[in-house]
Structure formats: structure tokens, C-alpha cells
Symmetry: C2
Subunit: 618 residues, 2 copies
């Protein structure tokens, strides 16, 4: 085999039932087709999955992958992807996180790890460039993420980096997360519960190899060029000072900040939970991810009062929204405390917050009373009750045990609550008010993992100019967030680009929100891997990955009717703000989106010509 | 006096009536207030102007100024400003051009030159770092700009750079231009005629000094940073390949490309006169201005056919529009020929084209016939007639003599034609269809020099995102080109920024169209001059300059009722395209603009508080 760069194709296959580990090499042509990370994960999943696999059964593969740019000098490259059949959606479940774990996996000479089987007792995997071992984790089982990380780094040294699950994953909460370096979450679709079902508490990596790149000089100069482009982006300054929390006041001004289970889009307490207020009172210092000049993350601390001693990396926008406005709560200190607790329990803040908001609306409307919720007062903004409920979900106690199933299953138990269970394909929707952001609405409906904003991440709708929209999507209206024109084209393009960025191991905030030219990404890919490429080929690979994921989902039971939005967004007009009276005409956008994708509206399958074009088999 | 950097304050005062030259120094506090270039020009003009000065009389000062960044390493810095009382508008007339003249003026140790008086016989000024001489130009009088430039560079060497006028300026055509390096035009408001009235044929500069800067290392690193920001701008690629002609197809798609004297905004022949077609067939190589990485200019050549041998730098968008779509003409070769000829005659292509379009519409509507136009057939698109008419205007022959006065005066002679004389304050309007670009409409109406797009240059309306618009102007609608909300705030901001950029000697294409952060401009200003500054102080200086220009105009007879648009744009709905049915509600925008500027709607004067804030006297 000729020398390979960036993504060398080496993955570990670990069978936890029998305790076997072997290394395998993936063919370069597969890499050329699916890039790495998220793309290769989906390809691996497709080999073994059938519609009858139990997400918590031994046959469900749990796949970790780091893309070709991870561990190089290309900015903002440290992300990995984890994939399996989701216990929340029963479809393709995958999530993506930062931290130093992925660069160190690459420095151990690996591009991915696939787990199958179920261990008899709790274990963790320890990986270096020289060996991989399954080790006993009985002493860690039951421990929080912070405790687990601390203990494992005490054992393996500070150069080791840790992925781990907390009690929520152990207890099979359907939206349990996998945590990286304690506070970075592969949060969505419940991969933490899949990890828990395998009794795999953690994966520790520690590597010293250099990631080989094809053209080191070119990689170096491109890294400089990309960095300069990031620093000169118009939103760089705000983003580098406030991070994603900058969105709170912006969304509120736009009337699209979710409030009280997405009942409206304007929150009275927005200033109080804003990124500006956070920075002024609680941020201790800014933080960069691996090789990233944007440093949009930050450390926060509560120094006095009831929550004194709370320290964490974060919070991000979604947590501010889901532990704040969307449950009618306008104080930062409990948000910081809850974020710390959610990370330690290993539980997704969006799905947890969405589930609690659902319960609070049921409570407000009298569908459940204090008796059904074990004596808690689930009035909007009652933080003390939320703090208790979060633990009850993680430990599956009483009413918490019902919510641990997610809103879709909970709604089968609470009569008349279906309308308030805001999910797509079983996954709770994230922190946008899509009646005022039509492209995001379409993106939720088409996302391969259900109610999600990160597959499409169509920020172009508000951060691109009408002129850019015209050039890319054929109509200036694509830059009007209330208009429908051009949105299917925007979402398709953004999903394809997003699949590329995820698969390479880059960050969408750094590349998409800051508007870095996809040409630069293509150049970086070529300089690292030595594979001749351009932006069109890369976007074609992104399209291939989206179609592959669709084929996986169809195999797992997806039907086209699931590509839709909760009734609230389609039928109830937005009550106030700039988008007052708006709903989302989702059907018309879906039909155009299917036409652009060459997907059949009846079966959901790509047509034969598209499959052939993408070299995919049905 | 302590050492001064960037703008050292040295200007020449030349009295052409008596042949006297003396150097003067301008006080640093004046520079701090008005920056340089355009700002200082307006300040100089204000000293001597009264409402009774004849634009062609000896007392009208003709002021040339180059700003503090000219001649440094800061990218795209080579522009100068020329100002006088305009013979076209009788108000403040100033224009701005590139070429190497301004950097060489700075390298001769000068920041500006003020001409007064009228020479008895044709002369030119020759300036080096050692001397300034008024020289005889009898041998050049009557010559074209190309011939003049060639002759003067033969005499003074290729390191000399030349500003000159052509026959149009000599013949006092009210829209005669001053040409820099042959093909760069200080085109608008007729300064070429003022120069002609003084019998000043040219100004030759040749300097060897270094422009002193306060912090050379910082200037160097900022130059790198600004260059990197330009190279990574989203529109860099297209702009660097096509230049301003990229706008032809874009405007046509948007339905805002002026056609047949602004009768509509969609042109059938747009492809044929597009920047893409130009590049494919006629462009021989790209060209950079002084210190500019954008190289948006280009050399073109016609190699065969009727116009073979035509060579020029250009054409720019406005010429493509005014010698193309706006006179119903869809061939590139005659446009290239006409551009060459206009430059050689020294005549503004916008006003010339607008005046001819006006004549063609009068002809179409039967207000004039072949008899009145000396036998020409002024049917739309009749290039041969246009070629003849252009020369007849420059030499003031027959009907051309009437058109040489501009549309406002011509319309007093052609009965019933007032509606087709498209001007603001006497200057012909430029190449946008403002019914589909409301901010540009407002910018035309408020521009201190009349129908002009470069004072405000509110490209933010289409190249900014709704989110940027919200952050800067309080409403996402400011990024909707059909909406009125936020437009007065946008135009005020853009005019203030524009005054800064003009006064510094920078290029709006490179800085505003490519979205370079004004913070970087402030840093550059500080590094060059050593004057502590930030973006707010600089924008305040921009506001001061706009108010100063307003005071000059009020002194020269401006009334608030002149801040308006031709009836065509206010009363006739746009007949087709995305903006079908649109007009410009100019009055409501003007009223808000006045409120934001703190200008009195009855008198047009800034209120006392604003004057005090800006340290200006009424």
C-alpha cells in the first residue's frame, strides 16, 4: 500500500462481549468517497445495521471517528463524531464534540474505534500509540463525569484525554451524552446511553505520534491563511468575546428566542441571561479549542451565594436557552449550576430542557398535577424543582423515569399532551423559533438525526447578504428569514457542506458562522491528504454522505412523512414580535427539497440516477 | 513645531493670474478635525467661497488634496480629491481619482495644491520635492489627454505622473473631467472645466521623498493584516477577476440596471455588455492601483473590426451602463471605443451618457427631431450617432453645445423635457435603478455634490446580512433593498464612513465593498499619523466633514427642497422585474435622515447642539 496522509485508515474494532481488540485498515477508496469522521461512521454503520437491531443490544455498533484534518495545523480541527442506532429516535444517531480527545486519538495512530457487544462488567478502553487495552472500570461506575475524568487522569497522567459517560448514560436515559474533557458534549441522540448499555464507562487516549500530512509547507501556509480569514470576519470580534451566548440578545431582538416550550419568541429576562451579562459577571477567562484562533469558549464561575463554587467551561447558547428562557427562568446562576450538573450526569441539555419544558407546559395546562410529578411544583421558572427533576431523570426516579424516555414516549403516557411534545423523529427540537427562521425549520425537518440544528446549520439565512444569497441560491429572498424562496436550495447546500465539515473534523462555528470560503477547506483537505480535490468534489462527497445517511435511515424505518415539524410551528401563529402571525409552511419546502435532492416523495429513496451519480447502492 | 507624520500640512498656493507660488502649512488642529484630502479641501473652500462666485471666474479656488495615508504601505491608498464650486451644480463640486499622481505628490513633500486666478495663456504646473514651476502649455492646448500625457512624460521622464484636461475641459463643458495617468477620472461635477477656465492644462508631479509615518513597524503589520482581510473577503475572487463590471449581470438579475434613460431595470443585452463577456474577449491583463492587492482594474483592447486598435484601462461599470444599457446599446466594442474617446476628451462618462440618454428619450417622444439635432438619428442604440455627438459636446458644436450644459440647463430649452432630465441638484444621476435600491435613492438625494452614488456608496443594503444590519442600524430590514426601515441610518453612517475614506485617500471598493472593518482603518490612521484615534473618533470626523460640506452648500444656495429625486423615481412605478411597481418614497426617508443628522427641515442647517458637538461654526 502506498503511503497515506491525514486519514490513514486505521481503526480499532473492539468486541466488548468477548474482550477482543483488533486493528483494521479501511480502503482508501472508501475514504475518498466518505472523507472520514461522520461520513465513514455512517458507512461503517451501514454494513451491520438492520431495522431490527435493539439500540441497547450487543449488535448495535458504537462508532467513534476523527476526520483527516484532526490533529493537523489547520485551524479548529479537533472534533470527533460518534454514531450508533439512536435509542431516542431509533434512526441514525450521531453527535459531534470538541476537546482534545480526537487529536490525541489521531496521535495514537488511529482514525476511529468501533465497539460492539456488551461487557459483563464496567470497563474502559485505554489507547496509546503502542497498545489498546480493555480495563476494569468497576471503581468508576456510578461516578460523575468530573470524578471519572479526574480519576482516569490521575491514573494515566495529564496528557491522557478522556471520553466518559455519567449516571445518565449508565441508567440508559435516552438522551444521555458522551462527555469529552468533562465539559464538551457529544450531546444528542443518546449515544451516552448506548455506551452505558455496553457498560463502557470511558475511553482514554494518549498519543505521541505526529499526524502525517502530504504537504507540510502548504498546510502551514494554509493554516495562516485560514487563521487570517477568521480574524478578519465581521463577526469575529463579538464571537471571540462572547461565543455562542452572543445569540441570546440577538434572537430576542429578532423574536426567535424560545420561551416556555416554544410558546413565543421574546423573553422579558433576555438581558439577564445574555452573553453580555455572563461575560460581565461570571466569565473568568476565554478558552480556545484545539488549534483555533476564535477562542469562542470560556470558563465561568459563580463566586458567591447559593451556587457558589460552581465552575465550568460554558455555558453555550443552547443551555442558556433550555435552562433559561425555554423554562421561563431568567437567572444565570442556576443555569451555570444546572449546566455543571448536566455535564456531570452526562445528559444532553437540549433534550433535558425540552423535556422539562414539555412537562411544565403539561403542568400549566392541568394535564398533570403535583401528584403525578411526585410533589414538585412545575411552575415556569421554578429552578429548585428543575434542579431536583434533572437528577430524577438521570437516576430514573418516579416522574423522572418517564421523562428519561424523551417527549415522544412520555406523550404516549400523558393524555392530550401530544401537541406540547416538541420533537422531530423523536428528538427534542433545539433553541430556535423556526416560525421566524424558515430555513432552520426546514433543516430541523430534514436532519438525519431528528430535531436538530447542526446538520444544516443554515446561518446563511441571517448572516449572508441578499447578494450572496442571489449568487448561491438564485434569489435574494433566501436572505429573508420570513421568505420561503431559495430555502430548500440553501438547506441542501448547507447540509452538504455541513457533512464535509463534520467529516473532516472541523468546527461549523469557526468555518460556517465566520464565513470561511469552502475553497480554503478544499485546499486544506488536499494539502493534508495529498488527494487532489476541489470544492465541487468535496461538496459532492457531502451530498454522498447525506444520501448514505438517508439510506441508513430508510433501512431503520424512516418514512417521508417523518420529515416534518411539530404542529406548534406549522399551525399556531407566532404571537408577537417581528414574526407575529408567522407559521412554517413546511410541506411546500419539503416538496422542493425532495425535488432538489432527487428523492422520491412516496418512498423517500434517492432516484436511480442520483444513486449512480454518487456511486451508492440502494 | 513638533514632527508631523502622514499628513505634514504643506500645501502650495498658486495664483495663476499673477504667476505666484508659495507654500503654506496648515495647522495640525485643522488636520485633526478634517483628516486630509476631501475634508481639508472643503475646509479650504469654505474660507474663500461666497454665493456670488462664478465657477469659471478667477476667485473660484481649485483645490487638490491627498490624505494622510496616501503614499504609505496601507493598501489601496492612492486617491486624491479635487474640489471647487461646480459649474454643473453651482454647489460644492468635488471628485476623486486613483492613479499614481497622489502618491507622487506626497513624495514631493506636499499634501495639496490650491489654484486661484486665471492664467493669460495655457500653462501647466511642474512640481518636484525641490521646486514648483508654472510652465507654458501652449503646445499642449487643444491636445487630447493621451497626447498631453505622452508629451509631458517625454519631457519630464516616465517617473513623472500627470493630471490633465482634454478639449472638453478647455471648452468649459460643464461635466468635463480631470484625468489622472490618462485613464483614471476625477470625473464628476465638472472640475475639468474649472481647470480649463483657469487655462491650466496639466499638473505634473515627480517626487523622491519618503512619506514619513509615525510607527513604521505597525504600519507594516497593519498593511499585512488589511491585505489578508481583503484577500479573504467573500467577494474578493469575483471582484479581483471582473472588477466593477461584475455588477452588470448582478444588477440585471436584480432588475436595477438602468436602461434607456432609466425607463426600466432589465436589459436584454446584459450578457453582451457584461464583465464576464468583457473578460473573455477583450481584457488583456489585470491591473492594480497603488499598493492594492485587489487588482480590480484591467486593460482592454479591441483587436479587430471597426474599432481595432482601441486600448484603454477600463471600462468600469458606470461606463458600460452609460455607453451601453442606458442608451439601449448592447455591443462592447463601441463602448470600449467611446470610453477611450471620453477619456481623451476629458469628459465624465456618467454625465455624458446621461445627457445623451436624455436627448434620446426626447427624440423618441418627438420633443426634438433630426433638424434640432443637426441631422443625427438619435434612436436608442445608434452608436454611430453617439460617437459623433460625444465629439460635438466636447467641442460645443451645434446641438452638442446645448448638451454640454448638462440636462438641467438643456431642459430649459427643450419644451416638455423636464421629466426626462434626470439629475439631482443639477448633476446627472448614476447607474443604479433606485426604485429597487432605496438606500441608494436616499444617497443620491442627500449627496453634497448632487446625483451621485459615491458619497454614501451604501453597498451595505445588498452586501450586508440582515444580522449585520440589525446590529448597526437597528433593523434587519435595512438589508432588504425594497424596505425603507433603517435606510436613513445606513446612509448617514455610510456617508460619514465615506468621508473618512475619501479624506484618508483610500478606496471605497477595496474597503467598503470588501467589508474591511473600520477598526482597521482607525488603526492604520493612528499608526501613520501618530494621532491617537479610534473608529468612533474617525466616524465623528466623517460626520464633521459632511456637516462642513453642508455648510459650504448652504452658503452656495442649497435649500432643503433640493434634497430630492427626479420625478421618474418618485412617481413612475418600475415596470418589470423583482421591483415591479416600486417607486421611492423619498420624502419620508429625507425627514428621518434630517432628524438623525439634526438638520432643520425648513432651513437645512445643523442645529446648534450638533454644531457645538462638532466644533463647527454656522
Amino acid at each position: 500500500m502506498s503511503e497515506r496522509f491525514g486519514w490513514t485508515g486505521k481503526i480499532l474494532k473492539v468486541d466488548l462481549s468477548v474482550g477482543a481488540i483488533r486493528a483494521e485498515e479501511i480502503d482508501p477508496s472508501i475514504q475518498g468517497h466518505f472523507i472520514g469522521g461522520r461520513g465513514i461512521n455512517a458507512w461503517i454503520l451501514r454494513q451491520g445495521l438492520t431495522g431490527s437491531i435493539d439500540p441497547f443490544g450487543p449488535e448495535n455498533p458504537l462508532v467513534f471517528g476523527a476526520g483527516p484534518l484532526v490533529g493537523t495545523l489547520i485551524p479548529a480541527n479537533g472534533r470527533f463524531n460518534v454514531s450508533s442506532r439512536s435509542p431516542l429516535t431509533t434512526l441514525l444517531g450521531d453527535a459531534n464534540a470538541a476537546g482534545l480527545w480526537a487529536p490525541l486519538l489521531k496521535r495514537a495512530g488511529l482514525d476511529g474505534i468501533v465497539f460492539r457487544g456488551i461487557s459483563e462488567r464496567p470497563v474502559y478502553l485505554f489507547v496509546t500509540e503502542e497498545r489498546a487495552e480493555i480495563r476494569d472500570a468497576s471503581h468508576l461506575w456510578g461516578k460523575t463525569v468530573s470524578e471519572t475524568d479526574q480519576e482516569l487522569r490521575r491514573e494515566h497522567g495529564q496528557r491522557a484525554h478522556v471520553l466518559s459517560i455519567g449516571p445518565a448514560g449508565e441508567n440508559l436515559v435516552r438522551f444521555a451524552s458522551i462527555m469529552s474533557d468533562v465539559d464538551r458534549a457529544a450531546g444528542r441522540t443518546g449515544n451516552g446511553a448506548v455506551m452505558g448499555s455496553k457498560r463502557l464507562k470511558a475511553i482514554v487516549v494518549c498519543g505521541k505520534l505526529k499526524v502525517p500530512v502530504a504537504d507540510p509547507d502548504k498546510v502551514h501556509s494554509l493554516a495562516q491563511e485560514i487563521k487570517a480569514a477568521m480574524l478578519s470576519a465581521p463577526s469575529y470580534k463579538t464571537r471571540s468575546q462572547l461565543g455562542t451566548p452572543m445569540v441570546i440578545l440577538l434572537y430576542n431582538q429578532m423574536g426567535v428566542l424560545p420561551v416556555k416550550n416554544h410558546q413565543t419568541g421574546i423573553f422579558e429576562g433576555a438581558e439577564r441571561i445574555s452573553g453580555e451579562h455572563l461575560k460581565e459577571k461570571y466569565v473568568t477567562r476565554l478558552k480556545s479549542c484545539y488549534c483555533c484562533p476564535v477562542h469562542c469558549s470560556r470558563y465561568s464561575e459563580v463566586r458567591e451565594g447559593k451556587y457558589a463554587g460552581t465552575r465550568l467551561e460554558g455555558p453555550e447558547f443552547e443551555t442558556l436557552c433550555f435552562m433559561g428562557s425555554n423554562i421561563g427562568q431568567d437567572e444565570l446562576e442556576p443555569i451555570l449550576y444546572l449546566n455543571r450538573r448536566l455535564n456531570d450526569l452526562g445528559m444532553d441539555s437540549i433534550s433535558t430542557g425540552g423535556t422539562i419544558a414539555y412537562a411544565m407546559e403539561c403542568y400549566e395546562r392541568g394535564l398533570i398535577g403535583q401528584k403525578e410529578v411526585d410533589g414538585l411544583d412545575l411552575t415556569w421558572g421554578n429552578t429548585d424543582a428543575v434542579i431536583q427533576l434533572v437528577d430524577r431523570i438521570a437516576y430514573r426516579q418516579g416522574f423522572g423515569n418517564l421523562l428519561a424516555e424523551g417527549v415522544r414516549l412520555a406523550a404516549t403516557k400523558i393524555r392530550g399532551s401530544d401537541r406540547y411534545a416538541l420533537h422531530v423523529k423523536g428528538m427534542e427540537v433545539p433553541g430556535q423559533e423556526v416560525r421566524g427562521l424558515k430555513a432552520w425549520g426546514l433543516g430541523w425537518a430534514t436532519a438525519s438525526r431528528g430535531g436538530d440544528h447542526c446538520r444544516a446549520f443554515p446561518v446563511m439565512e441571517t448572516i449572508w447578504s441578499p447578494q450572496q444569497a442571489l449568487a448561491f441560491f438564485g434569489t435574494e429572498k433566501a436572505a429573508d428569514r420570513f421568505a420561503y424562496e431559495g430555502k430548500p436550495a440553501m438547506v441542501k447546500w448547507a447540509e452538504d457542506l455541513g457533512a464535509v465539515i463534520d467529516s473532516l473534523g472541523l468546527c461549523k462555528i469557526a468555518y460556517v458562522s465566520l464565513g470561511i470560503s469552502p475553497d480554503l477547506i478544499a485546499s486544506a483537505y488536499q494539502a493534508v491528504t495529498g488527494v487532489k480535490s476541489d470544492v465541487n468534489q468535496l461538496l459532492k462527497a457531502g451530498e454522498r454522505i447525506n444520501n448514505l445517511e438517508r439510506l441508513v435511515n430508510l433501512k431503520l424505518g424512516l418514512t417521508p412523512s417523518m420529515d416534518t415539524l411539530p404542529a406548534r410551528f406549522v399551525e399556531e401563529p407566532l404571537p408577537e414580535g417581528p414574526g407575529k402571525g408567522e407559521v412554517v409552511k413546511i410541506r411546500q419546502m419539503i416538496e422542493e427539497y425532495y425535488r432538489l435532492r432527487k428523492w422520491d416523495l412516496a418512498t423517500g429513496y434517492p432516484d436511480d440516477a442520483k444513486l449512480k451519480e454518487l456511486s451508492l447502492a440502494r
